[in-house]
């Protein structure tokens, strides 16, 4: 290393070239690597303290209400119900939107900005692989947030009761819906956010676009809720993705919407909400498909 240390910056050292004859793991491994890298990006791993700040703060805020609820349950029992499994996402929708709005641009806009997208596409990946890996990276991030909060609630209810074993048996059937709804909310939010972010190389614009989309859609649904008179126009409130997700959540948890919930007066069948969620995902996939077909590599 002595010669290396003496050399001026940029000097080329002649140590010979070694050919690589180790394994080449191919496309599935490339997709997995991109997915893992993306999950790292979502939580700001290995990218300096500034990149970590937003995901960490939002993760804490997203799980804090569950911690409080768990503590309250431990002291006061079932009587005080601030948040529950079914309405958790709707209550905290702002946090999930902010998380997606902050991290989706890091995943897809940044590669367009730096124009490194072509380096991925010139490797053992297809365009669809790239898109799906990015989408699932954000989905895993949101899923971790959602699942983390739900499991805290779950743990609080089990450990807070007098007979933990009885409580576990009583609560256990909720685990499947917890995973299911967390997966659903993460896929809907991640696909919409990644689709919007993919439209621009500018991160700030992408963030504004994602926040704007969710604010606009819920404002629109709010206005329509006021105007609900007829039989069919309540369906228009499904334009708010959170109404759709919240509806499915209630449906799966077999919960009644609370009196203040926008869902209370809608009284749509569960499959309608589920259908709306699937439509959102399909729409997002469609946008991504068109966008990455056309994008100049």
């Amino acid at each position: 290393m002595a010669t290396a240390a003496q050399g001026a910056a940029g000097t080329i050292y002649d140590i010979g070239y070694q050919h690589y004859d180790g394994p080449r793991l191919g496309r599935p491994y490339a997709i997995r690597s991109l997915l893992l890298h993306g999950i790292g990006v979502v939580f700001g791993v290995g990218r300096g303290p500034r990149a970590r700040l937003v995901p960490i703060v939002l993760t804490i805020i997203a799980i804090l209400p569950a911690v409080i609820q768990a503590a309250v349950t431990a002291y006061a029992g079932e009587a005080v119900q601030l948040v529950g499994y079914a309405d958790y996402f709707v209550q905290l929708s702002v946090i999930y939107v902010l998380f997606c709005a902050a991290q989706a641009p890091e995943l897809v806009s940044a590669d367009q900005r730096s124009r490194s997208l072509v380096l991925y596409l010139a490797r053992a990946l297809r365009r669809d692989d790239y898109v799906l890996a990015k989408l699932f990276a954000l989905a895993v991030g949101v899923f971790a947030l959602a699942l983390g909060a739900q499991l805290v609630l779950f743990t609080g209810r089990v450990l807070g009761s007098l007979n933990a074993w009885e409580a576990l048996r009583y609560e256990a059937p909720q685990l499947a819906p917890i995973f299911g709804v967390s997966a659903l909310v993460s896929l809907v939010l991640a696909s919409l956010s990644v689709a919007i972010a993919s439209l621009t190389p500018r991160r700030a614009l992408a963030t504004a676009g994602i926040v704007g989309f969710f604010i606009l859609s819920s404002a629109m649904a709010g206005i329509l809720r006021e105007a609900i008179e007829g039989a069919w126009d309540r369906w228009l409130t499904l334009l708010n993705p959170f109404i759709a997700v919240g509806g499915v959540s209630n449906w799966i948890f077999e919960a009644e919407p609370g009196p203040n919930s926008p869902l209370a007066r809608l009284d749509l069948p569960g499959w309608a909400y589920a259908g709306a969620c699937l439509t959102y995902m399909a729409l997002a996939m469609g946008i991504l498909w068109v966008r990455y077909r056309r994008i100049d590599a």
Partner: protein, 313 residues
Amino acid sequence: MPLLRADNLTKRYPGGVLALDDFTLALEPGLIGLVGANGAGKSTFIKILLGLLQPTAGSVSVLGLDPTSDPIAVRQRIGYLPEHDCLPSDQSAADFITHMARISGLPQNSARERAAEMLRHVGLYEERYRLMDGYSTGMKQRVKLAQSLVHDPALLLLDEPTNGLDPNGRDEMLDLIKRTGEEFGISVVVSSHLLGEIERVCGYLVSIDNGKLVHSAAIGSFTAETAVLAVEVDEGAEALAARLTSAGLEVRMDARGGLHIGMPDERPYDLVRDMVAELGLPLVRVQRTRQRLDELFRAPEPTTAATAAREEG
């Protein structure tokens, strides 16, 4: 097996621009220069080789594989350096190259080792943990070269690798490419709009103009026929040129009145000496040089439409 071949390859963009026009070519492994003006079709050709663009017509094969039907297999064996910036600024070179190696299919440990090795090869070993937004253009070009080499490809496609470099950086990059090709046994296709660069690095030259193949031959065959005798006289250059032409030599006069005489053999030396003496001209310089390759390639009478298209591109 040829390194790559193209048969009647044609690419027309949706807008109607004809980027490649009935392009037929077969190349053996080695250091290959791809020369043409900006917009001549070099980048389009490279992207078709990578399977990033689909040709409108014709067929192409790279390392015996068809990039239009099996792009993944082709890309696993190719390294690509794009002509534009393509590096994220908020990562270190070591992290980025390791990541790229993994996307190329290398396991984590091998990826990290190869990344460090390649960064040493391009001369960035000391700086490899710094964030890339502090890198100079020259360092960024080296990182781009390192990422194209990290998976030990059989073929490198380098699109304008000296873009934006100062003369010094240009020299170092060209040396690096030459070494990579000659010592490592990796075939390299280098595109450039500067013939001088290709002449220095490559053993084989492909020139392309308006999407058409102009020349494809070993560099040596060009340099042999490009020997030129440069003659400068203070006055009477026209008279001398006329005499030399009538003696059967190929003479061209440049804008400053210098004469460039084709050298099929040693004969022009004596002829120039005798005629300058006969005419009593003040001789300033007689020098054997090489004609610039780009003059050789200049089409005899480019149509105005073709010239306009080239200027737009």
